[in-house]
């Protein structure tokens, strides 16, 4: 059964089961591999995308619910990797292995869209993605830097 997904402003017809999680439709069918697989149970956040501007863990979001939704992945967050969050991530060299960072950036960009000057506690509550390398100190600093630069 063919389902239409609007990803980064472009319509894609995907012919996979409607229970397919958005993560796998993006990676294996549409071919956008920036969104990552870490756990499959929405525990790690590596699969975070925006759906109508909200951060969503795509590994547990079946595509059947996404007709008409505006999906944004890391590839579509900005034209030239120049979203303030991405800029701040570069300025402070946040990534180490980098595997969690697509999800981190999508979570952080959604946070500052919602709360343009987030408090320490708001950052704690919103940034629950797992980073196995432990880049957390720089993530926090980069969110503050992005706010300053925006």
């Amino acid at each position: 059964m063919a389902i239409s997904l609007k990803v980064n402003g472009v319509d894609h017809t995907v012919d996979v089961d409607e229970d397919t999680p958005l993560l796998w439709a993006l990676r294996d069918t549409v071919g956008l591999t920036g969104t990552k697989f870490g756990c499959g149970i929405a525990a790690c956040g590596a699969c975070t995308v925006h759906i109508d501007g909200e951060p969503v863990r795509s590994c547990v979001t079946p595509i059947r619910d996404l007709d008409g939704a505006e999906i944004t992945t890391i590839e579509g967050l900005s034209e030239n990797a120049d979203h303030p969050i991405q800029q701040a991530w570069k300025e402070l060299d946040v990534p180490q292995c980098g595997y969690c960072q697509s999800g981190m950036i999508m979570a952080a960009s959604a946070l500052i869209a919602e709360a343009p000057s987030p408090t320490h506690e708001q950052i704690d509550k919103a940034m629950t993605n797992i980073c196995r390398c432990g880049t957390y100190p720089r993530i926090r600093a980069a969110i503050h830097r992005a706010v300053k630069n925006a």
């Binding site: 796998w24 920036g34 292995c97």
Partner: protein, 723 residues
């Protein structure tokens, strides 16, 4: 499982950076490709200059977050004399040109990239620089020694004539590299020692970085496993009818201990796995448990079974006549790696050639993968992607072998992709171990004798049997024994216990596979050693810093410890808080932590970590700082929650919702205060040294806060958790 025969050569040298002998790819002139007539071309396996002056530097080590993608290139670029803006870094196909100077085959392990390539990589750059001067000298008819190199140009300082490297590289490639070259002095460095921004950061913030899981090939199918519920299990009968009926599933491929479902994507393959019906022959491991393993370890350690790996003085007499004895039994659990990127490998088999794409740490072992599918070792071409974490797990070649076998069965390129649960349950775990530790103390509080009786499984007995000769594996004793193993590998301890020391290790192998986990031997031996030192201090009423200063052999270690104590205000935590301290010497680096916590009942708040490390020389201070917090967070996660347990043949832990696989989050992370010292001497590694001192420092802080002695990890096993 594959075992490896390596010559002893690499391991007979000291564990410090390998001396001289550079065996890096300077191809004979006839083998060098000549590029365009207008300039540009390949100088050797490491270096290419394009017509527009881009200097392409090969980076053959595995980038898993350490930042060597950038810092390795800094070594070469410095000597080559190019502006960093001209540099383009890329991952080359694996090859003998990139053999690790110490191990003799291409691999990234033991925090040993920068320190092993420290001399050889700078020499590659310097030799290239001199060969470019020789080319200019020949073209201009002048003595090359009178020429200088600057910003990608060879310049004649007398005439002002200059030529870009692109115009010279083809000619330069014809020469034999000079045997002796002059390397720059530290005060001349403009690239080494600078916090150069990571070259891979842009790709890692825009989603374009390619990890193993992201590899895409025409006709590629995805293979997802169903494993036997036992490490010794074998496939019996396979009923795949329901799996094959699922849309997208193409084929079902049974191997020896696992069945792979092959489909046009991960999701249909996963559904196919759930629809499989397989009967298994569980083998002897079907009934095994970690409780049984630890029973064996406890008994062996208590009895002092096994090999005496170190013995000086008369330890029995010293223990017998001691004024005070400190006797403690410690335990360290099995640990799961849990790299952020689940395990995967991609292979394309043809009867002519095997091509592998993988987030691997063992490029140089891919010849064994070729052998597994009946091809000669030279018939393999291996490509290294970025690694979403390595932690030592990616040194194993089990997935490349699976991918090659499945590709051979399907006739297509195959990406083997494991779920998080498969990843956790089919790990090569950090070995569990038990250590009985004894110290003889005289009336003045001085340690006069030391004994450690350790029991646990051996990694090398499986992975590299030659190195486990006479049942002594240095990865079981390094950090706690001062000795050389029968296989010729040195093991080091930073403390001298005076009149007598004895270390015994009982190699007790079990069906639970064990492998290299971040800091390997030091992850459990740093725990045993440092926790024991802290107990001696407490028992004898001595300050833990003063006690260590009296026991340390090297002035360097004392210097780092003193700086740590000063920086952390040792002995003066904030009101209501407690501190703990530990310091370890491994991988050429001396690194210590003071961890400050607040404890209420059994609820811990991590307040601050102060870390001081001496690395000899800092190639990139920014990536060094990042790795120190990284290794510490690995250590914190493990000390708080980490363990792999098994009740009946299957590891209990599967995904991050399992308490023992809980990962530290941003909200829980303490403040870091990190200082890097550069005391000269040899250059040290940084990928792993920050992990070993964490568990003992944290346990010490808990003791200072509560009075409870922590002898077992994780802390949750004693009822502690984060607030």
């Amino acid at each position: 499982m594959t075992t490896i025969d390596v010559s002893r050569r690499g391991f007979l040298k000291s564990s410090a950076a390998a001396s001289g002998a550079l065996v890096l790819g300077f191809a004979a002139p006839s083998l060098v490709k000549h590029a365009h007539a207008v300039g540009g071309g390949k100088l050797n396996a490491w270096l290419e200059v394009t017509t527009d002056g881009v200097v392409r530097i090969a980076q053959p080590q595995s980038e898993m977050g350490q930042g060597i993608w950038t810092s390795m290139a800094q070594l070469i670029a410095e000597e080559l004399e190019v502006d960093w803006e001209q540099v383009e870094i890329y991952s080359p196909p694996a090859g003998p040109d990139f053999a690790h100077p110490f191990y003799g085959f291409q691999t990234t392990a033991e925090s040993f990239s920068i320190r092993a390539f420290w001399e050889p990589a700078r020499t590659v750059g310097a030799q290239a620089r001199e060969m470019l001067k020789m080319a200019a000298g020949e073209i201009w008819g002048v003595y090359p020694g009178s020429l200088s190199a600057k910003a990608g140009h060879i310049v004649n300082p007398v005439t002002g004539q200059e030529a870009p490297y692109a115009a010279l590289v083809t000619q330069a490639a014809k020469y034999q590299p000079p045997e002796t070259v002059q390397l720059k002095r530290p005060d001349q460095w403009t690239i080494i020692g600078k916090p150069i921004p990571r070259d891979d950061t842009p790709a890692k913030v825009n989603g374009s970085a390619v990890y193993g899981i992201d590899v895409k090939l025409d006709g590629m199918l995805t293979a997802v496993p169903l494993f036997a519920p036992s490490f010794t299990g074998k496939v019996g009968a396979v009923d795949d009818a329901a799996a094959l009926a699922i849309k997208g599933v193409k084929q079902v491929v049974p191997l020896e201990d696992v069945v792979y479902v092959v489909a046009d994507g991960y999701w249909p393959a996963k559904k196919g796995v759930e629809a499989l019906n397989v009967t298994w022959d569980l083998g002897e491991g079907g009934d095994f448990s970690t409780a049984k393993a630890f029973e064996t370890f406890h008994a062996a350690a208590a009895d002092g079974k096994g090999a005496v790996v170190e013995e000086t003085g008369d330890v029995d007499a010293l223990m017998g006549s001691a004024a005070t004895k400190v006797d403690v039994t410690f335990e360290a659990p099995y640990l799961i790696h849990a790299t952020m990127e689940p395990m995967n490998a991609t292979a394309h088999y043809t009867d002519e050639k095997l091509t592998i794409w993988a987030p691997t740490q063992a490029q140089g072992l891919m010849g064994f993968v070729a052998g597994a599918v009946g091809l000669d070792a030279e018939k393999v071409e291996a490509h290294t992607t970025f690694l979403g974490g390595g932690l030592g797990r990616r040194f194993e070649i089990d997935l490349p072998i699976h991918a090659a076998l499945v590709s051979k069965a399907t006739g297509t390129p195959i990406k083997v992709l494991w779920s998080r649960e498969d990843d956790s349950r089919r790990d090569f775990y950090r070995p569990g171990a038990v250590a009985h530790m004894h110290a003889a103390i005289d009336a003045a509080g001085k340690v006069t004798g030391f004994e450690a009786k350790i029991a646990g499984p051996s990694i090398l007995a499986r992975a590299v049997p030659d190195l486990a000769k006479d049942d002594v594996d240095h990865t079981n004793i390094d950090g706690i024994a001062q000795t050389t193993t029968p296989a010729g590998v040195p093991s080091h301890r930073q403390y001298d216990f005076g009149e007598g020391a004895r270390v015994i290790h009982a190699m007790e192998n079990t069906p639970i596979p064990v492998g290299f986990w971040r800091s390997v031997a030091h992850s459990q031996n740093g725990w045993f050693m440092e926790a024991f030192i802290n107990e001696i201090a407490a028992e004898t009423g001595q300050d833990p810093v003063e006690l260590r200063l009296g026991l340390m052999k090297e002035a360097r270690n004392r210097q780092v410890l003193e700086r740590l104590a000063e920086k952390a205000n040792w002995g003066s935590p904030a009101e209501g808080n407690a501190q703990g301290i530990a310091i370890h010497d491994a991988f050429g680096t001396v690194l210590g932590h003071v961890i400050e916590i607040a404890v209420t009942e059994k609820a811990i708040k991590l307040v601050k970590i102060t870390s001081v490390a001496d690395v000899g020389f800092a190639v990139n201070p920014d990536t060094l700082e990042a790795q120190i917090s990284s290794g510490a967070i690995t250590g914190l996660t493990a000390a708080l929650w980490g363990e792999a347990t098994m009740e009946k043949g299957v590891i209990d832990q599967g995904n991050f919702d399992s308490p023992a696989l809980r990962m530290l989050k941003l909200a829980e992370t303490p403040v870091f205060d990190i200082e890097i010292m550069e005391l000269g001497g040899s250059i040290g590694g940084i990928g792993e040294p920050s992990t070993p001192p964490v568990a003992p420092a944290l346990a010490h802080a808990v003791f200072n806060a509560t009075g409870e002695k922590v002898r077992k990890l994780p802390l949750t096993s004693l009822g502690y958790d984060l607030a």
